[in-house]
Symmetry: C2
Subunit: 306 residues, 2 copies
Amino acid sequence: MSFMFEKVAVLGIGLIGSSLCHVMRQKGLAKTIVGHAKSEETRRVALEIGLVDSIYATASEAVQGADLVIMCVPVGACGSLAAEIGSYLMQGAILTDVGSVKGAIVRDCRPHVPNGVHFIPGHPIAGTEQSGPRSGFAELFENRWCILTPLEGGDPLATAKLESFWQACGSMTELMTADHHDLVLAITSHLPHLIAYTTVATASDLESVTDTEVIKYSASGFRDFTRIAASDPTMWRDVFLNNKDAVLEMLGRFTEELAVLQRAVRWGDGETLFNLFTRAREARRNIIAAGQDTAAPNFGRVPTKK
Amino acid sequence: MSFMFEKVAVLGIGLIGSSLCHVMRQKGLAKTIVGHAKSEETRRVALEIGLVDSIYATASEAVQGADLVIMCVPVGACGSLAAEIGSYLMQGAILTDVGSVKGAIVRDCRPHVPNGVHFIPGHPIAGTEQSGPRSGFAELFENRWCILTPLEGGDPLATAKLESFWQACGSMTELMTADHHDLVLAITSHLPHLIAYTTVATASDLESVTDTEVIKYSASGFRDFTRIAASDPTMWRDVFLNNKDAVLEMLGRFTEELAVLQRAVRWGDGETLFNLFTRAREARRNIIAAGQDTAAPNFGRVPTKK
């Protein structure tokens, strides 16, 4: 049996790392899968549920002889990880990551990547609000996009091989510059998360409405915001620290739009509200038509039992 | 067989109205269900799928002899509807509604309700982003709260009967004042919807990122916002026009919190971000513990097919 990769090293065994292990197993993409995790408990779980063939406390051990190395740690941890593994990487290996910011990854990692190693930053647009080695599943990347941001002058064959890998994991792939990626994700992901966090914070600091009331009546909209606000805090702190300019740009535009809506509410301008609400409906239709969400009411939530 | 109500008149056959018809049928809560809808097509569908025993183009016909009348129309339409039916209501009947604003409903409807009719405003905290007579289902109210805001001096027995009705529909019930309801819903529902609409509007007005890109990469957070932004535009216009003060109050607080987060992003204050993100996680846990959302990742969305 021939494998796409002989030895894949997954550095960091959280939601993305463990999902990659599952899908690589399921599709037979790697002869050997090795892992690295700082936490002893994570290493124990990774072996127990069969995510990896072997696991190491130090990343430099894990990457030796690997022809694909995937950094699955928070954006802020990638630079020091790259520094640690740089001189242990095999010639001809592909080094990639899965972080939600790409410019900062290039800035922090590139200096540590030796010549002869193909560094191709990547970002699978997939996830859930859960984290940890038990949260992964093989279908996570199915029908989702994975963006790669190859560096100028990089080897197109290595990029093509990494694209094939993600496609074999179930994804569709797209290439763009790191800067453009960071703008796109600022609006599709980082701004929504920041707004969700802000909404949850607003609700928890009211004198007039109790926390219990917010929870009881959350099915009227609020609960949708709490899902993305339940994502891993370290990961999200790093995203905002490392995509500052694009996030501030989108926040500025958001605040402008909010002022327009706020004014319409204050002055009772029903026409402005109605027109905007009608336009917003269209966005949902397009997302469903593109296969990026379910058309089932309430996301097809199964009703909770009494 | 004895029924809780002899004749229930459902005025407006949208998501809530049609769901009420389904659950009343399923649980045998009404001997006769009659409906009213302005649209001929809605009347045709309501009869075709058996929502009602008979349906009327004029509300005053529908309410005659009904011992329970439920107004299921947008908040802005309730006043004129009450004016139209007032003199046709049966003595001893209960008149209620399902609107997401209660102060304005009391203000607009009470003048038209004759003595001897029990007017008890209500609001089931349940819904989906869909609308129309085909969008309803019997389980919509299951394990959700229904808030009633009885008027001072109203008949406690009538209120108790309406509570029993909603409980028989699967809901838990709570009583509060109309003013307090409007504050609670401003934070749990109206603010989240306004923010979702604003986010969708921001995303659709960018020069740097195309609409196609926003749609393709929406699984990273944005798609969650589009669900509630896909709700009925008329209903939501009326909510904001009729709960102005509470919405502006919550918007002011939201803007303050957003300024704090924006400053933390600008100055790279990771500690503030991390602490706030950690707190937000807690809100999700509490909502799941209270049975108001599913614990399944991504709301248990079924993965979309290629």
